[in-house]
C-alpha cells in the first residue's frame, strides 16, 4: 500500500528525507540513521507522548514537537539534536530519576531497563533536583504470576494501555492525578481480585522494574539441592526460540539442545519437553474435535491451552464454557504423566518428585493450582513454573556459558516430539497441529502437505476453510485478547439467529503472536522479534522427520502402555479438566 501513498519531503538535521504521508518524525529520522531517544514509545501501542524526551524543533519555532506522535509535513526542517534540545531531554530524565528509587543493583530489570539505558546515554552523573517526599506505595504480590512495584513506576502508561487496548482486560488503570497518579486496579482491590488474567503483557512492556514476574527460582534451587527430591523439568515450545536472547543470540535462534544441557547441568535428573505433551494434547483434543464434529457435539470446539484465555472465559464468557476443549494444556499433561506413567516406569516414588516447568508465560504459574484437577496424579502435578526470564537468571547464576554449551537430547520418554508439537508456541500452531491429525483421524489417510499456512502470521483473527476429503471445516484463530471479542460476538450472533456456528474449531491465545510473545519471555518484544521467534518454531517443525502428533512413536507407546486410547476413561481422569463460572467484580 505504501507506494500508493503521497510522499512527503522534509529535512532532518539538513538531510533530505522522503517518506510516505502519515510517517512520524521519529520513524522518518530512523530512516536516515538518526536516533531520537524515547521512553514511553513502544511500537505495539499508539504513541501518546507521555514522557517528552523525543522533542524536536521544526525550523525556528519555539514550540517543540514530540517526534513519536507528530506526523511529517511537506517542507519541515527538523532539528533533532542541538544543545538546547539535549538539555531539555536531559532535564526530563533527571526529573524522572529524582523520584525513582536508587536500587538498580537489586532490580529485576537491571541490565535491560530503558530508563537505565537512557540515563547512561545522556551521561547523567548527578541529579540536580532534591528528592521530593513521596508516599511509598506497597508492592502488590496478590497474584501468583506478577508483582506490581509502583514505587519504580515512571508513569509512561504502557502497561495500562496494553492491558486495556491490546488485551481488553482493564485490570490496570491510571488512578488519581498528577504526582499522586498511580497505575493500579480500580476500586482499591488487589490485582488478583481485579479482572487481571495474569497474561503478564504489562510486565513484558514495562520499560523499568515496576511490573515483573513473581520470582520462584529459590524454590527450584532448594529442590535441586534436596537429595530426597527427584527433580524433573519440562520446557515449553516458545522457550527454545527466545531464551538465547538473554545470552546475545538472535531472536528465533533455536537453542533446544543447549537448554537441555543447561537444565542437566543445573542438576535436573529428568529433562522432558512440553512439545511431547503438546502431541498428547493433540491426540486428546483432536479426538475430542473429531467426536464432536462427526457425532454431533457442542461446536465450535475452542482450544484451552492458554490459561489467561481460560481465566478470561471463566470470568467474562461463561456462555462458551460448553465449547471449551476439556483437554488439559500440555504443561499439565506433562506434569501428570511424569508423576504417574514415568514414575511407575522408572520405579520412582511420585511423592518425592518435583516437577518444574519452564514457560514463556506468567499465567502458567496460576494454572498449576487452578483446580483440584491439577492434582490428578494424587500430588500437585506441576510443582513450580519458571518463566523464560527466570531460567535465564538461573543459568547465569550457575555460571553456565550458555552460548558454548554442547547440545544434548531430552529424555526419551516424555521428551520426543514432532513438528506439530513445537508449533504450539505460535498463534495458529495448535490449530495447525490439530488439523494435521484431525485429517488422519477422519480419513485414516495421511496429508500430502502438512503445512496450513493460512493460520500463520500476525493478523489478529485468521479464518480458513479446510477441505478434508470433501468435508469442509471452518476454523478461526485469534491471538491478543483484544481480538477475541469480535470472534465471540460473531458466534453469539449466529446463536441468536439460530444458525449453526460459522466456525467449527477456534484457537485462542491471549498474547500477541501466541506464546512466543508471552508475558514471561524476554521483555520488550516487538512484531519484528515475534516474527523471528515464530520463524524459529516453523524451522524446528520443518526440520523434524515426523511432523504429525499421531505419528509420534512415543505417543503410541504411552497409549499402549498406559492410557489405552485417546479420550479413554483413564485419559479423561488424568488429562482432562472442567471449567466453571467465576465471580468477579464487574469488568
Amino acid at each position: 500500500m505504501e507506494d500508493t501513498k503521497k510522499m512527503i519531503h522534509l529535512e532532518i538535521n539538513g538531510i533530505a528525507v522522503e517518506v510516505p504521508e502519515g510517517t512520524t518524525i521519529l520513524e522518518a529520522a530512523r530512516k536516515v540513521a538518526i536516533r531520537i531517544p524515547t521512553l514511553c514509545h513502544h511500537p505495539d501501542i499508539k504513541a501518546w507522548a507521555a514522557c517528552g524526551i523525543c522533542v524536536v524543533r521544526n525550523g525556528n519555532s519555539p514550540k517543540l514537537l514530540r517526534a513519536c506522535c507528530t506526523e511529517v509535513a511537506e517542507g519541515m526542517h527538523i532539528t533533532t539534536h542541538d544543545p538546547d534540545i539535549v538539555q531539555i531531554r536531559k532535564t526530563v530524565v533527571e526529573l524522572i530519576l529524582s523520584t525513582h528509587p536508587n536500587d538498580c543493583l537489586r532490580c529485576p530489570r537491571s541490565g535491560n531497563c530503558e530508563l537505565q539505558r537512557v540515563a547512561a546515554e545522556f551521561g547523567i552523573r548527578e541529579v540536580p533536583f532534591p528528592r521530593p517526599a513521596i508516599e511509598r506505595i506497597p508492592r502488590d504480590t496478590s497474584t501468583p504470576s506478577i508483582v506490581l512495584e509502583p514505587d519504580k513506576c515512571i508513569k509512561c502508561g504502557r502497561c495500562a494501555i496494553v492491558c486495556q487496548e491490546m488485551q481488553n482486560v482493564w485490570a490496570l488503570e491510571f488512578i488519581g492525578r498528577g504526582e499522586k497518579m498511580k497505575i493500579a486496579p480500580a476500586a482499591d482491590v488487589p490485582l488478583n481480585d481485579s479482572p487481571c488474567i495474569k497474561c503478564g503483557q504489562c510486565s513484558a512492556h514495562c520499560p523499568v522494574g515496576a511490573i515483573y514476574e513473581k520470582d520462584e527460582t529459590s524454590k527450584v534451587w532448594n529442590a535441586l539441592r534436596d537429595p530426597e527430591r527427584y527433580t524433573a523439568v519440562q520446557i515449553a515450545p516458545a522457550v527454545r526460540v527466545a531464551l538465547g536472547e538473554a545470552f546475545g543470540m538472535k531472536p528465533g535462534e533455536l537453542s533446544t539442545g543447549k537448554i537441555y544441557t543447561a537444565l542437566r547441568r543445573l542438576g535436573f535428573e529428568a529433562v522432558f519437553d512440553t512439545n511431547f505433551s503438546a502431541d498428547l494434547t493433540i491426540m486428546e483434543e483432536g479426538t475430542e474435535f473429531v467426536q464432536r464434529f462427526t457425532q454431533g457435539g457442542e461446536l465450535p470446539l475452542i482450544t484451552s491451552c492458554c490459561p489467561s484465555w481460560t481465566d478470561w472465559m471463566e470470568k467474562y464468557a461463561t456462555d462458551f464454557i460448553p465449547n471449551f476443549s476439556t483437554a488439559k494444556s500440555p504443561q499439565q499433561m506433562l506434569g501428570v504423566m511424569a508423576k504417574t506413567y514415568f514414575a511407575e516406569k522408572m520405579g520412582i516414588n511420585p511423592a518425592s518428585m518435583y516437577v518444574v516447568s519452564i514457560m514463556p508465560c506468567t499465567a502458567k504459574k496460576y494454572e498449576i493450582t487452578r483446580s483440584d484437577e491439577m492434582q490428578a496424579s494424587g500430588y500437585q502435578d506441576v510443582d513450580v513454573v519458571l518463566t523464560t526470564r527466570e531460567l535465564a537468571r538461573m543459568i547465569k547464576i550457575a555460571g553456565l556459558d550458555f552460548n558454548n554449551l554442547p547440545e544434548s537430547d531430552a529424555d526419551s520418554i516424555l521428551g520426543e516430539y514432532t513438528g506439530a508439537g513445537t508449533l504450539f508456541g505460535a498463534t495458529g500452531g495448535v490449530m495447525e497441529a490439530a488439523l494435521r491429525s484431525a485429517y488422519y483421524l477422519i480419513t485414516k489417510e495421511e496429508l500430502a502437505d502438512v503445512n496450513f499456512t493460512q493460520v500463520r502470521g500476525l493478523d489478529g483473527v485468521k479464518e480458513a476453510t479446510i477441505d478434508i476429503k470433501g468435508t469442509k471445516v471452518s476454523i478461526a484463530v485469534a491471538h491478543q485478547m483484544g481480538n477475541v471479542e469480535q470472534v465471540l460476538k460473531a458466534l453469539r450472533e449466529d446463536r441468536a439467529a439460530g444458525r449453526p456456528p460459522r466456525w467449527q474449531f477456534i484457537e485462542v491465545m491471549a498474547c500477541r503472536g501466541g506464546c512466543i510473545g508471552g508475558g514471561g519471555q524476554p521483555t520488550l518484544a516487538t512484531d519484528e522479534i515475534r516474527k523471528l521467534r515464530m520463524e524459529g518454531l516453523y524451522k524446528d517443525d520443518r526440520e523434524k522427520a515426523i511432523r504429525c502428533s499421531h505419528q509420534n512413536p512415543q505417543i503410541h507407546k504411552i497409549y499402549e502402555d498406559f492410557l489405552g486410547a485417546p479420550c479413554s476413561e483413564k485419559a479423561h481422569h488424568l488429562l482432562h479438566t472442567h471449567y466453571t463460572a467465576k465471580p468477579v467484580y464487574a469488568k
Binding site: A171, I175, A186, A187, Y585, K587
Partner: protein, 158 residues
C-alpha cells in the same frame, strides 16, 4: 456510622438508561450519582459499570482524576473552605486550621458523630467576600475565627 449496602434508585436507573445511548454519558451520570449520594458509593459504581457496559477501571480513572468526585462519604454537613488566591491572602488557611481545631478532625475527614467534614476548594467566585466558607451551599463571607463556633452551631444536629 451505619453503612448499609446501597443500590441504584429507580430514578437513577431511569436516568442512566436515558443517557446510555448518548456520547459523553459517563460524566453526566457520575455527576448525578454524586448529587444523589454525596459521594461515589462503590456498590453503586459497580452497578453503573454493568449498566453502562463500561469497564470499572475506566470509571475509576475518571472519578479519581477529578477532585470533584468523592470516594468517601462526607459528613452530614459539608464545609468547603476557599483557598483561592484572594481567600488565601485574607487568611483562608487560618480559617481551615481553626476549623480543624474546632471539629477535632483534619481536612477530608468526617467527625466521629458524622456531622461535619471539611474540604478545601479553589475560587468560588466571590472574592470580595474573602475569606469565604460554604456549608451545604450556604455562603459565609468575611469569616473570622471567632465566628466559626456560631456558624457551626447553626448546622450541628439540625
Amino acid at each position: 456510622m451505619s453503612q448499609e449496602t446501597k443500590t441504584l434508585t429507580p430514578e437513577l436507573r431511569a436516568f442512566i438508561e436515558e443517557w446510555k445511548p448518548r456520547p459523553g454519558n459517563l460524566i453526566m451520570v457520575l455527576h448525578r450519582i454524586q448529587q444523589t449520594y454525596g459521594y461515589m458509593p462503590r456498590e453503586i459504581v459497580l452497578e453503573l459499570a454493568d449498566l453502562l457496559e463500561v469497564p470499572l477501571a475506566k470509571i475509576y480513572g475518571v472519578i479519581t482524576f477529578y477532585n470533584f468526585f468523592k470516594l468517601k462519604q462526607p459528613g452530614r454537613n459539608l464545609i468547603q473552605v476557599c483557598l483561592g488566591t484572594a481567600c488565601y491572602l485574607k487568611g483562608g488557611d487560618d480559617i481551615m486550621k481553626a476549623l480543624e481545631h474546632e471539629l477535632g478532625v483534619g481536612v477530608n475527614t468526617v467527625t466521629p458523630d458524622g456531622e461535619f467534614s471539611t474540604e478545601a476548594v479553589r475560587c468560588l467566585g466571590c472574592c470580595g467576600l474573602a475569606p469565604v466558607i460554604v456549608i451545604n451551599g450556604e455562603v459565609f463571607g468575611k469569616v473570622t475565627k471567632a465566628m466559626l463556633p456560631g456558624i457551626l452551631d447553626k448546622f450541628r444536629n439540625k
